[in-house]
Subunit: 460 residues, 2 copies
């Protein structure tokens, strides 16, 4: 019986099988010492999104540091019929394989846009190839959720948002990654206890309908819970929310917050607020949950729903309106050796499949602010210079070693909050109706020379 | 730095924090010996779905068998401000806590429908409560993907489907769970190497565009790859697929299969087929990939696209058109002690929140076939009898021990294939346009008595 929660943390086999067959072919054809330069970027925005929030880098670096094939991994590979023509030398090579490359990345929490490399890897071709799948699934997912969370938190204005989606996340591990990405992007906490335990994210929770149903009366349930948790949030809609509120008031029980999870949240919250205010419970807060997202939260607040806290689950933990970020990892150059050694040759690479063209060459993104607001990002070749441009890609690993301290989740979260202030107002709009043709990423001088294109602007 | 791939497999903290606070309140109010009977069921079909495929039970049972709080889990809980009024006795109770309950479930691979309990747990209330989140996220996700995969495989008819979605799955662990669920539901294999390593699922793969781009010429890349992998699938659309095919033919290289991953798959596959057939390559197969799903595969085959294999990634591994299965886990009864002991009292529980009503009492589903096809499912109280009805829920655990052998993935897969033959044709339709008002789940006699409703049929 297999739990599938990996005992085998960071297994190099968490990769598409073709990465291994390609590695074997590189090895057998004498290519193993060539350096492949790969960049991950996102081709298009998910639905309605106008900006992306980088997330997942810490897990990628952990994976790279621990990358190694165990004897049982090698045995598995040798048992595969498709690999029968592969030489023993290849397996010897895999046995000694560690990640020895260089990594540049846009720091977690930073706002970025399609076509901008969020991570660049320069490493011997077999290393840079095999890590593709893990890197993509990790950054695609966390960036997807951080982006969704950022929209939801913005929409909720001054009302804190809690991530409650573990039960609908794509398995128990995805639930923890979703909690992490949501916190980075501004959620105030999560319901996921493991995210509290491992990552120090504030955990919170209220009570379930089943708790209420376990007791002979709703008031018994409230009262027993409040004895242990005096500042608890009480769930009032198991049977009838207004009757529940009346019972609380009649009993003169003290209650910090009540939660509603069903029905018409606008009218219910307004009526509850009126009842509470007229009964000496003006300081009792109201929390709402139940299939909420950035759109419904925006609507509720626009109609003055008196909701103090939002719990957002399914829509956030699955990015339900668009559950896949189509980040890709593409070869942009081949070098004869790693940069840092004295001399090297470089050959730029570009794919030209219909609709899937890539920009060649190792690239950098320079962000130009005007009055504190992003004016444009210049996408250009590494080494190009851009006046007043702030480099978005920073080097995190040098020949397999981490050379930059990874920030705490709290400081990533602050960074994101600061970064949002620089976002042009048009790009904050959560509705697609407001889509404009504004362009924010422009191609820099040296990149233009390489791709030989005219004065191109990428339309976002 | 945290990898978040759990060293801490099956941690009991992979749960919503409110499960812990409720557990503490149950404990402090003297409820710990009551037995909570919970059932998980799905309220509504995901978009366009007309049936569901049960998956994830093996991981749940593994979790229940390994359920225990470690000293560091307890320390974490004690550090939480919200728990400061909880007594040391509660932590002692948690230290000794194991899962000691009974579990019934619909076997993996079985077709089932909304409102039918897919799993029933009877256990002391604290145990049955804390496991909720893990159980839901595990079964919700795998059932979601198995259901999607079943539709895609049906749509592809005789052309095998391979699951290629790891890079867009919700993190590396979700990619393995998605591979498992897809295989159960009929996929022929996966690109995920770890799923091959841990679960024995056939792995396969082709090559990436980056492999082609690494070589000076496309033909060099094909030729070097074919030396090591003589029966390889060659990816022909890095630059121009027809030129690539011409190069292969001119070189008289032998090739088992070619893959196209972009452009108009219908016209491209037809043209490639004609070129191959007229050049002595009639036995070379064609594989297609690139944002495929059940709808586009159905369209391609309806228009006679000569595609022999399909690779399906993002749409499958994220269930993109509806990425959340809204399975819920609800209290249906409280017993004074576990069944099996001599006597017990039972009190049925029902939630009546607007739009979220539950059916009370521990239930069983009886499936009635007519001429080998599902005529109806009867949802009724456990212990009720239904003529010719086959019980869908089987007992897997008795007081914490596994009492039924868990089948291999291959036998689950066969079971699903057989089960599909019993599905009424109307429920196989993949398009919502064909939605009928047919009802297939009916309420049995004894359940009717309990809920006091008239001759109800649940409309699916």
């Amino acid at each position: 019986m297999e739990s599938l929660l990996m005992l085998d943390t960071d297994s190099p086999l968490l990769t598409d099988f073709y990465e291994i067959t390609m590695a074997a072919a590189y090895f057998e054809s004498g290519q193993k010492d060539r350096v492949g330069v790969f960049e991950m970027f996102v081709r298009n925005f998910p639905r309605n999104r106008r900006y992306l929030v980088a997330a997942g880098l810490e897990q990628v670096i952990h994976y790279l540091l621990n990358f190694r094939f165990s004897p049982s991994h090698i045995s598995f590979l040798k048992s595969q019929k498709e690999l029968k023509h592969v030489s023993e030398n290849f397996y010897d090579y895999l046995r000694g394989l560690r990640f020895t490359g260089n990594v540049w990345a846009i720091p977690e929490g930073t706002i970025f846009f399609p076509n901008e490399p969020v991570i660049r890897v320069e490493a011997p071709i077999i290393e840079s190839q095999i890590i593709e799948t893990y890197l993509l699934s990790t950054i695609n997912f966390q960036t997807l959720i951080a982006t969704k969370a950022s929209r939801i938190v913005s929409s909720a204005g001054n009302s804190p948002v809690f991530e409650f989606g573990s039960r609908r996340a794509h398995g128990p591990n995805a639930s923890v990654l979703a909690a992490r990405a949501s916190f980075i992007a501004g959620c105030s906490g999560t319901s996921n206890s493991f995210a509290g335990y491992k990552l120090g994210i504030p955990v919170s929770g209220t009570m379930a309908h089943s708790f209420i149903m376990n007791y002979d009366s709703e008031l018994d349930a409230f009262s027993e819970f409040s004895k242990v948790f005096p500042s608890a949030t009480l769930l009032v809609d198991t049977y009838d929310p207004f009757k529940a509120i009346s019972k609380i008031i009649d009993s003169r029980m003290s209650v910090a917050c009540v939660r509603i999870d069903s029905g018409d949240l606008l009218s219910t919250s307004k009526k509850i607020r009126r009842i509470l205010d007229s009964s000496g419970y003006a300081s009792t807060k109201i929390m709402a949950s139940g299939n909420l997202n950035e759109y419904s939260i925006g609507d509720l607040l626009a109609k003055s729903a008196p909701i103090d806290y939002f719990g957002v689950g399914t829509e956030l933990a699955t990015s339900r309106d668009d559950p896949a970020l189509e980040g890709v990892y593409k070869l942009v150059a081949i070098k004869s050796r790693l940069k840092g050694d004295q001399e090297f040759q470089i050959s730029y690479k570009q794919k030209t499949s219909p609709g899937k063209t890539t920009y060649p060459a190792p690239k950098q993104v320079f962000r130009i602010l005007r009055d504190g607001i992003i004016d444009r990002d210049v996408l250009t070749v590494e080494g190009d210079t851009v006046d007043q441009g702030i480099s978005l890609l920073l080097q995190y690993m040098d020949r397999g070693k981490v050379i930059r301290a990874l920030p705490s989740l709290k400081s990533i979260r602050s960074k994101h909050r600061e970064g949002l202030k620089a976002l042009p107002a048009a790009l904050r709009e959560i509705h697609s109706e407001s889509e404009s043709s504004s362009t924010i990423v422009v191609i820099g001088k040296k990149l233009k020379q390489i791709i030989g294109e005219p004065d191109t602007k990428l339309v976002l």
